[in-house]
């Protein structure tokens, strides 16, 4: 059963800001929200993690509202190299420690 819901695909252009929203209605109190990035022919790569409010690193920002039932990954000024699949993960309710990946969001950045 899918624990997260995110758009299947998105298109953007170089220099634009991209926001990918993920729904996770069953998130448990102690769960963190984690985002991974996967380029073609590579394994996924961790990019950011948060619990509430806002987290920012050199790659992206993560916005989490107070109810934590959704989160938004924000990529500032995307370039062609940001074309990838982005996965939103939360720990399954009930305590499974296995990272569970859905279909992810395929982002295509156009020139």
């Amino acid at each position: 059963l899918a624990k997260t819901t995110q758009p299947i695909s998105m298109d953007s252009y170089e220099g634009q800001e991209v926001n990918i929203t993920c729904s996770h209605n069953n998130i448990a109190t102690n769960d963190y929200i984690t985002w991974y990035q996967q380029f073609p022919s590579q394994g996924p790569r961790f990019i950011i993690q948060g619990y509430k409010t806002k987290v920012t690193n050199e790659v992206a920002s993560l916005f989490i509202p107070a109810d934590r039932k959704s989160s938004t990954l924000s990529l500032p000024r995307v370039s062609l190299s940001d074309t990838a699949v982005y996965y939103c993960l939360v720990r399954e309710s009930g305590g499974s420690y296995i990272p569970t990946f859905g279909r992810g969001t395929s982002l295509i950045v156009h020139p």
Partner: protein
């Protein structure tokens, strides 16, 4: 090592043959995961090892699939009597400990069954 290493990177095998895929996790990581990714699909969990505990095999699709982890380090995924539907990229990941939400992935092994 510096990262998770998988071998071989590519494997072509004939239907009915057995194959072994190897994963060397990051040194010191106690958790190890195997996933399968078919073309254009998300990652399908296969099996999870944590330290010396019994592995979680709940994701293995059939009894043709098995895995072991020796000495808490290197892991081998074995597929017996391969079928064409086994063709996929097999990904291994490790994390520092159980519940650590940051997992480090290898480059994967692309398996093609002909």
């Amino acid at each position: 090592g510096a990262g998770v290493s998988q071998s071989p990177s590519n494997k072509v095998t004939e239907k009915g043959k057995d194959v072994e895929l190897r994963c060397d996790p990051i040194s010191g990581h106690t958790a190890l995961y195997w996933y399968r990714q078919s073309l254009g699909q998300g990652l399908e969990f296969l099996i999870y090892f944590q330290g010396n505990s019994a592995p979680d095999k709940s994701g293995l699709p059939s009894d043709r699939f098995s895995a072991e982890r020796t000495g808490g380090s290197v892991s081998t995924l074995t597929i017996q009597r391969t079928q064409q539907e086994d063709s996929a990229v097999y990904l291994c990941a490790s994390s520092l400990s159980r519940g650590d939400t940051e997992a480090f992935f290898g480059q994967g092994t692309r398996l093609t069954v002909v």
